[in-house]
Amino acid sequence: MVETPLLEFKGINTYYGDLHVLKDVDYTIGKGEIISLLGGNACGKSTTMKTIMGVVRAARGTVTYEGQEINTLATSERVRRGIAPVLEARRLFPRMTVYENLEMGAYTQPRGAQFEEDIERVYSLFPRVKERRNQLSGTLSGGEQQMVAIGRALMARPKLICMDEPSMGLSPLFVELVFDTIQTINRQGVSIFMVEQNANMALSIAHRGYVLQSGVVVLSGTAQELRENEMIKQAYLGEMEIEPT
């Protein structure tokens, strides 16, 4: 890639107390890319997310966004600059309505015509969200909550959306819908960085991927390469996904 990447990790090391979580990790997220991060449980995937969002600070290494180092930038400022999260287990504001949740997503953006335009965009992506706009978000089903979570991220007019387990706990129908939507959003020019246990689904829409094991990137490549890698097939795809059932 010739142009500057949108976001870059260089030699990132992160600790929780004594525990060394990320060890000299490098990632590049290009403009318009969907990147999938694979890895077992507790290998540092969520820490990666937190480091991108600035919830956890790297002890060593640099995080660069649009060519600028953002290591010490506050989470709220990162959102303002266009990095929006879709958190694990949705994390909506349960006692606020769907509409209010979307408003919160636009917290860093000016009110007015732009807001109306953005909310229409979310409604057109998810007609179901429009139907439910006056309902308390805590009373929605898991799939509907995920739509609101993605919609809320979009309201921040992001250049990069970081998604932590977007398909967790969703029915097959919703999983498909979520992945379709991710592609649609991506085609509108938003980069996606995604942690996902459903490796097969994730690699089917991603451009590139990284494999993290015990805090070290052990493999990276195009989605196609990763799908054909024997190690990936065994460890992450599992035979049940290959077996036509």
């Binding site: 929605l140 089903s141 129908l173 999983v175 460890a235 795809l237 599992g238 049940m240």
Partner: protein, 661 residues
């Protein structure tokens, strides 16, 4: 000490031995203290500090162990205090009749003549009052506890605040009993074999020390037992605790009673030492001070609250007055006027406030945290590869012997939330030894189905019977006792407890140890506890090396998949006859899902009956004999996994165009 241990004394001692050694050293130090520190006023301060320590220990049971925020704890202190005060002073003196004679014979009352009719003077022995004061306060603890059982958090705090005020106001206004605001006078001090304690501090100091030692012992014994685990489970997650077989009513009342008993005993001691009792001694400032002591020391930490109480109390009654004098001398020496007149005691509240703010900022878990830090796992312990072929070590688990009929029969169950029908006349049966899967879109009523089976939500109509027992109307812990164990969709572990404790709580309903057994710990209790721990370890070992190296780690630090495994282990530890699994493979990658599916299958092969909610159709196909499809609370299909996958209605509502891929 022999030579080998002398070389590395600290390395040779386990944590347990080290703390025992420290305890003995501390006890000997405090036992000998009056011999070389003879200032009576200082010993008095220490004796007072000790009574605050025993109060804090009691409050720690209610707040620290069971998580019930109590802002009116001083009420029980007052009850113990007035009990002893009234029955040893000249406040209440009924007219003598011969019916009192037996009590006079055993020394509880004496006949008194002050120039009118003969009167009764109560002369309750301190040594008898100490335990009975505990019992009476415990009774009031349950009395106050009963109406607030359904409340928690802020609501509970407000109600207890009210109780605290009520008791104080009663003490102030029931003048015939308590002499009102003036307080009780002429309370008798203790006597021991004819020796009167009088007004010297030393004997009170020793009684206080013994009381602290006794209550520390009781606290530790309770915490390390089935009782303590049940309290901590309630503190961590009430719903999960009841679903794991803990009776919320019994254990909350027990916590209130136990905490109140500590306060009642302290009340007896405190009044015997002071030889008066006034309502101010038990006002809400005392309750909040005690709460501060518990928080400062470390909520749930036995030594922490003792240290917190003693430090704060000594600071108030000893250090601040002393330091004022030091500052005065310093002022005279340097000629600074301000230092000569400053009175640090007036700054007490300010200094407390600053200490609290600093503690909350920098050391929220208290001076001595209840949860010890555990060393991180080595790389080798962390590495777990996917294990195929089901659980390991199943020979230790035993077998289930399924009958031929139906284990679980659900008939026309209706659940409504307001206007929303969550389950609409749903019927299903799970054959004994069978595996049935429930699938359906998000929000179709699957989790509600589990909740109604396990007693967490009430059904509007219908019936659910398990092996002939009607489950509807049973409390969640009774459902578990009947052999129905479950996991939760969003994982409900006890986050601040470790893996072993979580699994042990699963065994709660199968163990018998009561509060007295837990404190006295007879051989039968030791045996039961050892067997329980072994069973928990056997269960953990089934997950190969995923849980065993992490037994002493708090579960909140575990990965998502390992938390799911602990939850399954906890359910299995209860020796269930049917296991209800709510999306067991959520958050696991396909390889891990497959591993778990095979493990569940291996349980099925042992004869365990399973009801399963799952979105991953591969897992469902692999496991289930029969599939039920729910949509908007209605059962829309039922049949063999392969048939259901082809059903038009199911494709429309749930699977989508690619049939689950």
């Amino acid at each position: 000490m022999n030579t080998t241990t002398a070389a590395h004394p600290s390395a040779a001692l386990t944590h347990k031995q080290r703390s025992l050694l420290l305890t003995i050293i501390a006890f000997i130090f405090f036992a000998l203290l009056p011999k070389f520190w003879t200032d009576d006023g200082d010993l008095d301060s220490l004796a007072n500090a000790m009574s605050y320590a025993t109060l804090a220990l009691g409050l720690n049971i209610v707040v620290g162990f069971a998580g019930l925020l109590d802002l009116g704890y001083a009420a029980f202190f007052a009850i113990g205090a007035y009990y002893y005060g009234i029955f040893t002073s000249f406040q209440v003196m009924p007219v003598w009749s011969d019916a009192w004679a037996p009590l006079a014979y055993v020394g509880l009352v004496e006949k008194l003549n002050q120039g009118g009719p003969d009167l009764v003077h109560f002369t309750l022995s301190f040594w008898l009052a100490l335990p009975t004061g505990g019992v009476i306060a415990a009774f009031f603890g349950m009395l106050f506890g009963f109406p607030v059982l359904r409340l928690r958090g802020d609501y509970l705090a407000i109600v207890t605040l009210g109780f605290g005020e009520i008791v104080q106001i009663c003490a102030r206004n029931m003048e015939s009993l308590t002499n009102g605001a003036a307080g009780l006078n002429g309370v008798q001090g203790p006597k021991l074999f004819g020796y009167r304690f009088g007004v010297h501090s030393e004997p009170y100091y020793y009684v206080g020390l013994l009381l602290v030692a006794f209550l520390v012992f009781v606290s530790f014994r309770l915490r390390g037992s089935r009782i303590g685990r049940a309290w901590m489970a309630i503190r961590e997650d009430e719903t999960a605790a009841s679903a794991m077989g803990i009776s919320l009513v019994n254990y909350k009342l027990l916590a209130f009673a136990m905490g109140a008993a500590f306060a009642g005993m302290t009340g007896v001691f405190f009044v015997a030492k002071l030889q008066t009792a006034t309502p101010e001694m038990f006002n809400s400032a005392v309750s909040s001070m005690l709460l501060v002591m518990v928080v400062l020391g470390g909520m749930g930490s036995v030594w922490g609250v003792v240290v917190g109480a003693v430090l704060l109390q000594l600071m108030q009654t000893w250090f601040l007055p002393q330091s004022s004098e030091w500052l005065h001398s310093l002022g005279k020496l340097t000629g600074i006027g301000f230092l000569q007149t400053v009175d640090m005691v007036q700054w007490t509240q300010l200094i407390f406030g600053v200490i609290l703010v600093l503690m909350m900022l920098f050391r929220r878990q208290g001076l001595i945290p209840a949860v010890r830090k555990v060393a991180p796992l080595t790389m080798q312990q962390q590495t777990a590869s996917v294990v195929r072929g089901g659980f390991v070590g199943l020979d230790k688990i035993g077998r289930w012997a399924p009958g031929t009929g139906d284990a679980l029969v659900i008939k026309d169950v209706v659940v409504k939330f307001g206007g929303l029908v969550a389950l609409n006349k749903v019927s299903l049966t799970v054959p004994d030894g069978g595996v049935v899967a429930v699938i359906g879109p998000n929000g179709s009523g699957k989790s509600t189905l589990f909740n109604v089976i396990t007693g967490l939500v009430e059904a509007d109509s219908g019936s659910i019977s398990f092996k002939g027992v009607e489950l509807l109307g049973l409390a969640p812990h009774k459902v578990l006792e009947a052999g129905v164990a479950r996991t939760f969709q969003n994982i409900r572990l006890f986050p601040n407890l470790n893996v072993l404790e979580n699994i042990l709580i699963g065994e709660h309903a199968r163990l018998k140890t009561g509060p007295f057994g837990a404190v006295i710990r007879p051989p039968s209790v030791v045996r039961e506890e050892n067997t329980a721990v072994q069973w928990a370890k056997d269960i953990a070992a089934m997950f190969s090396n995923r849980l065993t190296p992490r037994l002493d780690q708090t579960v909140s630090g575990l990965s998502y998949a390992n938390r799911r495994r602990v939850e399954i282990a906890r359910a299995l530890a209860s020796r269930p006859k049917i296991l209800l699994l709510d999306e067991p493979t959520a958050g696991m990658n396909p390889a891990e899902s497959l591993e778990l599916a095979e493990q569940i299958k291996s349980l099925h092969d042992l004869g365990l009956t399973i009801l399963l909610i799952e979105h991953k159709l591969d897992v469902v196909t692999r496991l289930a004999d029969n599939v039920i499809v729910l949509d908007h609370g209605d059962k829309i299909a039922e049949g063999l996994p392969d048939d259901v996958r082809k059903d038009e209605e199911v494709l429309r509502a749930y699977l989508g165009r690619s049939g689950g891929h």
